[in-house]
Symmetry: C2
Subunit: 114 residues, 2 copies
Amino acid sequence: MSAADVLDAVGEPNRRRLLGLLHHRGESTVSELVEASGLRQPQVSKHLKVLTGAVLVSTRADGRYRRYRLDGRGLQAAHDWFGSFEDVWQARFDTLDELVSTDPGLVQPEEQLP
Amino acid sequence: MSAADVLDAVGEPNRRRLLGLLHHRGESTVSELVEASGLRQPQVSKHLKVLTGAVLVSTRADGRYRRYRLDGRGLQAAHDWFGSFEDVWQARFDTLDELVSTDPGLVQPEEQLP
DNA sequence: CAATTGTATTCCCGAGGAGGAATATGTAGC
DNA sequence: GCTACATATTCCTCCTCGGGAATACAATTG
């Protein structure tokens, strides 16, 4: 389970939609995801297989159903990967702060209510 | 600049390597990235174009050089996208906490300072 | 057992995209 | 101007990967 696997997996719009659906609906069966996504069943199963390989979802067998749910491990790995760049956008804020303290006139004042 | 653009862009290993190189080296020219990455110049320029479209990098013209640097906006957008799933891995911790409070013997006690 | 439902897998096809080579554009220096 | 260097773009090829249809596997029901 590397961040690379996760980022490869989420680099596809329909897989991101499935993640969003699982987030919104909670644990779901394949049929429910087919219904909710508009994709066909084989496509959903294939995407879920990729997501499983990236530890973004996990499965639980329940009779002839398979219940899928989000797996926090992969999601957190990707979050951390982007978090490692946090200094980049922190630097942006620092620059903005510096601009403000150097020349406050650069910033538009809030519109005043009458 | 949507999170989708960013995630599509980082869904490619060499682009992730370029982001890592820019993070490690700071602002760099194309030639320096060619040298550091082992990729050929046209490939680097093409990847940088995609990264620019996703607002992951920005450019500054400097004579016949073009200096590229990371752009915090795209990076932060992706970070936030994954952050929207934070409840998923928080739920994992909550489950762990519950285990701990149910049976403290499961967790090794902290070593006490004398 | 057969029939039905839920899911996974296989095979094929086509679009997209990454890499290579060559070329175009732009800029500096003589 | 011409030449050299830095970068961007074009064209082509190959290959990965997503979608569709059909099929295989699994589990429930009668």
